[in-house]
Point group: C2
Chain length 428, copies 2
């Protein structure tokens, strides 16, 4: 086991170097571990979290006190708090990750070549994964557990306002690893709030294989700007619902209301509704807008929308690109499905986009031409979620196209390895 | 169809913008095309290449003449030349790509959720792929064809010494696209040798989705340094063969000689041989070195190698990291399989690494702990190749871990899309 001896306060460069070296060494030993060992460690982590409740809450109290005196908002303080229920929920989530099937070793493809070589493509751990996140301390536990499940060492950099809580959680996690005989260095918490540490870690090609930033767009952009290592990004969720000429009226109302209002602050909530001109002239547009207004949603529409729903404010170009995360929706009338697709491809964030239609050809065309991670037919955008998809715990949702797209589960924390077994074959 | 009107000589920024816009628009229309249409276009491209032989050779003569007067090496001039046989081989390769199964639309996973939503994860085109390459003009045709097969628009930036040849090939490709009714803007040749064009294109996030540089390490490092878009990299091939204590002697000799000498200038040739101490003391190390020396290979060994093979020169630390691409090999004696794995993980390039052993546990342990794209048991490293693997045409070999690892075929030029068909489901 490699440990960090440098003090981050006085020697940040050495500290980050040691931390990355320790994670790399631990990732090598994890690569030699079995799924049974990793699951045993996950069970022990859940035990340690439950047993560590007092210690976790003592540490959390320090963060809450500091947060109150530095004027954190009530919402932020709420996110930070480790209640009994949240500690149990963290532990239960680790247990559920242990229950999931093992992504490592899964055979993706394979064949016997003409020359007799038996070739397989397998899922294997990526190596060392850096997770950068904001205030919620439960991410420390969730991210470490998902990375461990998939055989990766983790470097965790949480928000500064949660440092005491994160330290206490990481201590439980490392205790769990030790109990199961795995290298506790497999989970490294960046034990400083110095921002320069992030910059240094993001440049550690060859030691850190991947960064997943979890947080707002500004955090993610700052990470991308500094990174030399690959970053899987989740920018924004500007999701659309397109109401086709052939939409069922009641279904259109239900899906639009659900997609917009069931939870507004989330990335898979709808932000723009597009109506085929026939759905505008038929009265459906007005009916949807009335149903949304009844839920307290502010409508911002184009001229055609305003013509049939007088309460609509005027939408500007900025509205088409906005991720409101609030009770506001942009509404536009289009002449065709292709115009809807062009709008979505131009303004959207390639997250989740839905069509409501009874026309099979329209459904299939929409699914083909809309460039999005999640193309939905006749259901709410709110379903685009790893849990809903049955992927188990989710490490995030990728709006990238490379490596992983859409909700990311444990499989997406692996890479592949071609393995060939021969009997002495040489190439002629 | 979008076209470029700006002159790259006088207005490079506008030219690059128009080129990326045209490629993006064409990628949208390709997304709506069927595999049958794309295959028809590939057939038409092969026809156009064959029919364009005179035109291709006339353009090629200009490049060859310029190359001769600027003092290109005979090897470089040879790579540049479009002989009758090479033109036929380009066309035949496009026909073979048409024959391959369609990667687009392949269902990777899927299920019916509890709520009745039918969920599928499909392969879909990435969008716009930028290929940056060096002197060989056939890459223009191969890369365009593979990207078209997988539904992607391509921006091609070849070596300046092949510009006339590349223009003529791209004209044939676009003629083929037009004959099949697809947008010829789907293949864009960067029609300038100005290096600033590369810098501009590498920053076109949102319009260019991926860059694949094909060439030497310095080209790739320069691309990575400038890129804001994702880059799939192939750095070096420092491949290893480890001769275990339980290796079959004749198999060890055959595999080492084949891996080192069958073709030395390629990335999957072996550069370092590691011998278990027992394979050194048994005489096997000496026998392998003699067989290599008989093929004209220079041996650079550690002290233990020199002790049993006196002709070995002294290996330095630089030798362990070297990609010789030549008749030179580094040889080291290790005490254990784990020490061999540590050496490979430390000095290797994660490309292709082989073990020769009759011990099943040793083979399995090697495959698990060596962090490499291609882990081979009892066969030559020379087999790590898309053609050998049955992937069809190869766009390159990735030494990255994200998105694609090892030989990359048409599947690796796709991303995924989750598609959900519902009947009005909303989230409760």
């Amino acid at each position: 086991m490699t440990t960090t001896t440098a003090d981050p306060a006085t020697d940040l460069t050495d500290y980050c170097d040691q931390l990355a070296d320790a994670a790399l060494a631990a990732s090598r030993s994890l690569a030699a571990s079995s799924g049974r060992q990793r699951n045993a460690a996950l069970r022990e982590i859940a035990v340690a979290i439950r047993a560590g409740r007092d210690e976790l809450q003592k540490a959390n109290a320090l963060d809450l006190e500091a947060g109150r005196s530095s004027g954190l908002s009530p919402a932020m303080l709420d996110r930070l708090e480790l209640t009994d229920a949240r500690i149990e929920s963290m532990a239960a989530s680790v247990d559920r990750i242990a229950d999931q099937p093992d992504p490592v070793g899964k055979v993706i493809e394979g064949r016997v070549l003409d020359n007799g070589i038996r070739l397989q493509k397998l899922r294997v751990p990526i190596g060392v994964v850096l997770i950068i996140y904001e205030s919620r301390p439960n991410v420390t536990c969730d991210a470490a557990a998902l990375c461990l499940k998939s055989g990766n060492a983790t470097v965790l950099r949480g928000g500064k306002e949660a440092l005491h809580s994160n330290r206490a959680i990481a201590a439980c996690v490392r205790r769990g690893l030790e109990s199961a005989g795995l290298d506790p260095a497999a989970v490294q918490l960046v034990n400083t709030t110095d921002r320069a540490a992030v910059g240094a870690l993001l440049k550690m090609e060859g030691r850190i294989d991947l960064c997943i930033p979890r947080g707002g767009e500004s955090l993610i952009r700052a990470v991308v700007e500094q990174a030399h290592i690959p970053v899987i990004k989740h920018y924004t969720g500007n999701c659309h619902v397109y109401i086709d000429a052939a939409a069922d009226d009641q279904m259109a109302v239900d899906i639009c209301v659900n997609a917009k209002t069931q939870r507004t602050g989330v990335c898979n909530a709808a932000e723009t509704l597009l109506f085929h001109a026939e759905a505008a002239s038929s009265g459906l547009l007005a009916r949807v807008c009335e149903a949304l207004a009844a839920e307290g949603v502010e409508i911002r529409g184009d001229a055609q929308t305003q013509a049939v729903f007088a309460d609509a404010k005027t939408a500007t170009d900025g509205d088409w690109a906005a991720e409101y995360l609030d009770k506001i929706v942009a509404v536009r009338v289009v002449d065709s499905l292709d115009q809807a697709a062009q709008h979505i491809n131009h303004y959207g964030s390639k997250h989740t986009d839905a069509i409501v239609t009874s026309d099979l050809a329209a459904a299939e065309h929409f699914v083909q031409v809309v460039d999005t991670a999640n193309a939905f037919v006749n259901c709410s955008t709110r379903f685009s979620d790893g849990g809903q998809y049955g992927l188990g715990a989710e490490i995030g949702i990728s709006t990238d196209k490379l490596h992983a797209r859409g909700p990311m589960g444990a499989d997406d924390l692996t890479t592949t390895k071609w393995v060939a077994y021969g009997t002495g074959q040489t190439r002629g």
